[in-house]
């Protein structure tokens, strides 16, 4: 099982994400943003949190045009698995792999604390380690996590059971309290909260561990 974690200038959760993958049994390759291809045999791509390219222009906008992102889009288009966390979620929306956009938090403040997340769908390789309706505690750390999509997209996300996580108490103004969404084929997850920061006893919480364990269960060679 191999995971690739993309590293942009300004990424700061790349190593945390790599450790979370490793603890779930993945071999991890760190992949620099200027590389034009992913290593052979990658089962899942992790797009980490941080402030890629200093959040210039819009969060994730410039990263989305980097050489490696073309490879990530191709990987997703081929049906490959990918997870984008925080800035990684913003990048995946900017590439169009996931619908919608992340706006400035409605309260204008940077929010950094553990929030309650309701598992809306356990029907994905990312969330099958939870039960729908479970409430878990996962940290958020963002200034632009206010999910926006037009009414048609929001209806499609709901109708197709593609809302993975919602906030129990909406911290940022997100439409429909949305914290994380799945692609149409359910193989790409984007979420603002950081499961990799709740994946070790030392973090003060381990509610994120089940996400990485579930992935290793699905992606392990039969």
């Amino acid at each position: 099982m191999r995971a690739a974690v993309i590293v942009f200038p300004g990424s700061n959760c790349d190593r945390d994400l790599a450790v979370a993958f490793e603890q779930a049994g993945f071999k991890v390759d760190m992949v620099w943003h200027k590389d034009a291809s992913l290593p052979d045999g990658v089962d899942i791509v992790g797009v980490p949190g941080g402030f890629s390219y200093g959040d210039y222009l819009r969060c994730g906008a410039i990263a989305a045009q980097s050489p490696i992102c073309k490879a990530v889009v191709d990987h997703a288009d081929r049906g490959g698995y990918a997870v984008g966390i925080c800035n990684g979620f913003q990048i995946l929306t900017e590439t169009g792999v996931l619908p919608g956009a992340l706006l400035r938090n409605a309260g204008l403040k940077y929010i950094c604390r553990t929030v309650g997340l309701k598992v809306e769908s356990s029907d994905s390789a990312f969330t099958e380690g939870y039960n729908a309706g479970d409430v878990i505690g996962i940290p958020v750390a963002h200034h632009d996590g206010n999910y926006f999509a037009d009414d048609n997209v929001l209806a499609a996300l709901r109708d197709q059971d593609r809302i993975a996580f919602s906030y129990t108490e909406n911290p940022n103004g997100s439409a429909g309290d949305i914290a994380g969404i799945l692609s149409e084929n359910r193989r790409v997850l984007g979420m603002m909260p950081h499961p990799e920061r709740a994946a070790d006893e030392g973090h003060g919480g381990t509610d994120g561990t089940a996400l990485f364990r579930a992935l290793s269960g699905v992606l392990a060679p039969a």
Binding site: A61, A101, L108
Partner: protein, 76 residues
């Protein structure tokens, strides 16, 4: 050749920064302000021969996120 691109949030998309500016103006006594929307202005210096279609493509692919923003191109 120069072009100026104006990028604004679409109508209906919440602009909390514009809203904060409106509040501040109100608190300063400018009661006549009923709404504020904040956007970006991007100046491009272009080689001769660049077309408005080129700039439109730049806007659609990078300068604006058309999910949430609209843009206007001004050739100057």
């Amino acid at each position: 050749m120069k072009a100026r691109v104006h990028v604004m949030l679409k109508n209906g998309v919440l602009d909390p920064q514009g809203e904060a500016v409106r509040h501040a103006l109100g608190a300063m006594g400018f009661d006549q302000v009923e709404g504020v929307r904040q956007g970006k202005v991007i100046d491009l210096e272009l080689a001769e021969g660049a077309t408005e279609a080129d700039i439109t493509e730049m806007c659609e692919k990078l300068l604006a996120n058309t999910v949430i923003e609209r843009f206007e191109i001004e050739l100057v």
